[in-house]
């Protein structure tokens, strides 16, 4: 079972929930962890893995052989990302705009394009002290595209069987989140009960509907804001699986890098309940299909 922890709004507690969910389950299940927030990975701060493996994440970018190129401009025309331009007597490439789709190479009538690897970040993996297999990706500073590295991270770290895997998603509701959610069995949505949290939560529930991924919600900083989030979730029939109180003690502990269930060990049972409910929802959804 693959569970993505996502939120829409940033800073609602995705990593707090994802890491403590993994730590709570670790004693009883084989659980793996993937931090997909490649622009600002931080789950390692709470899980303290020893990283033993490292490899480059690359995208293949076009290299044009000027001796073969006839300057027909077909590559420029087919590039949806404007990573190529025809200027005077040369084709210019813009590696940071390239998505590595290969259209230019495929469409070049004279075979003037070869693809060369362009490193955009690294994939690292290892094991936490509890024995949780851990992987994350780190996007190189100045590289603008997170999606290819998330795709490669998932390809490398997701086991083909049904191993219980927790994925910590990037914030927002754009390409990198969509890439993370692809192929998930369940989405655990972390929100705060404020108009901001609700606004972005609605964007995520829209994406999940498209993907047909069942979801449940953790309300973090419970006690602030208003009732709009609960009302919305009730209308949408999305269950609230857990509430984490707004507390200075929790905030102070997290700021010091302490996992939530070590700040308040009683919450471990709540996380086990979250998983039990998620498993039930997934089983029901699969049975209904």
């Amino acid at each position: 079972m693959r569970i993505a922890v996502t939120s829409g709004k940033g800073g609602t507690g995705k990593t707090t929930v994802a890491t403590s969910l993994a730590l709570s389950l670790a004693g009883e299940y084989d659980v793996a962890f993937i931090d997909c927030d490649v622009e600002a990975p931080n789950a390692h701060i709470f899980l303290q893995p020893i990283l033993t493996e490292q490899q480059d994440a690359v995208i293949l970018i076009p290299k044009i052989d000027a001796k073969v190129c006839t300057l027909c401009g077909k590559c420029v025309e087919v590039c949806q990302f404007h990573a190529l331009a025809k200027i005077g007597s040369s084709i210019l490439t813009f590696p940071q705009l390239c998505h590595g789709c290969g259209s230019c190479t495929w469409n070049c009538p004279v075979g003037a394009i070869t693809e060369v690897p362009n490193p955009i970040g690294v994939l690292e993996s290892g094991t936490t002290p509890e024995g949780i297999p851990f992987s994350h990706g780190v996007l190189k500073i100045s590289e603008p595209m997170a999606t290819p590295i998330i795709r490669q991270l998932k390809r490398k770290a997701l086991s083909p069987d049904d191993t219980l895997t927790i994925l910590d998603s990037p914030p927002g509701a754009s390409c990198s989140v969509v890439e993370t959610l692809r192929g998930m069995d369940f989405a655990l949505l972390v929100t705060e009960p404020t108009p901001f949290g609700l606004h972005d939560l609605k964007q995520i529930t829209g994406i999940l509907e498209e993907f047909n991924i069942p979801a449940g919600v953790v309300i973090n900083r419970d006690g602030i804001g208003d009732n709009q989030t609960d009302d919305f979730l009730a209308r949408q029939n999305i269950p609230v699986l857990m509430r984490i109180p707004f507390s200075l003690e929790i905030a102070a502990g997290l700021s010091a890098g302490t996992p939530l269930i070590k700040i308040d060990p009683a919450l471990r049972q709540d996380f086990l309940n979250v998983y039990a409910q998620a498993a039930q929802i997934v089983a029901a959804a699969k049975g209904g299909k």
């Binding site: 420029v76 990302f81 404007h82 990573a83 331009a85 025809k86 200027i87 005077g88 040369s90 210019l92 813009f94 940071q96 705009l97």
Partner: protein, 112 residues
């Protein structure tokens, strides 16, 4: 001399547009004929690579110079490769017409 100027509206009297890659309109001025033509910027609606798309358009129209408020690194790279002068509006220019006039009098600073 063929000039391209980033513009807010499709007319020479329009206020200038400080953005190049995502300006709505690109106004073309041919100093030989004194003729203005308006072009919708093909970069404006792109989700990415707007600067390159707009620069390719300007380059395909055989511009000698392009005038805007600033140029992003991709657009600037394309113009440099194409040997097209990049000029900045500066503080005195407010309309597209004025920008062309100042450029032809060589009163505009080059973008570096």
């Amino acid at each position: 001399m063929i000039l391209f100027i980033s513009s807010q509206h499709p007319e020479p009297q329009s206020p200038i547009n400080e953005r190049f890659g995502r300006c709505e309109w690109l106004m073309k001025y041919d100093s030989k004929t004194g003729q203005w033509t308006e072009h919708q910027n093909p970069g404006a609606a792109q989700s990415g690579g707007a600067g390159v798309a707009a620069a390719q358009f300007v380059i395909d129209h055989k511009a000698d110079a392009v005038i805007s408020g600033a140029f992003g690194p991709n657009a600037a790279g394309a113009f440099r490769a194409g040997n097209i002068a990049m000029k900045l509006f500066g503080s005195e220019v407010s309309t597209v017409e004025q920008a062309a006039e100042y450029c032809l009098q060589d009163k505009l600073e080059s973008f570096k």
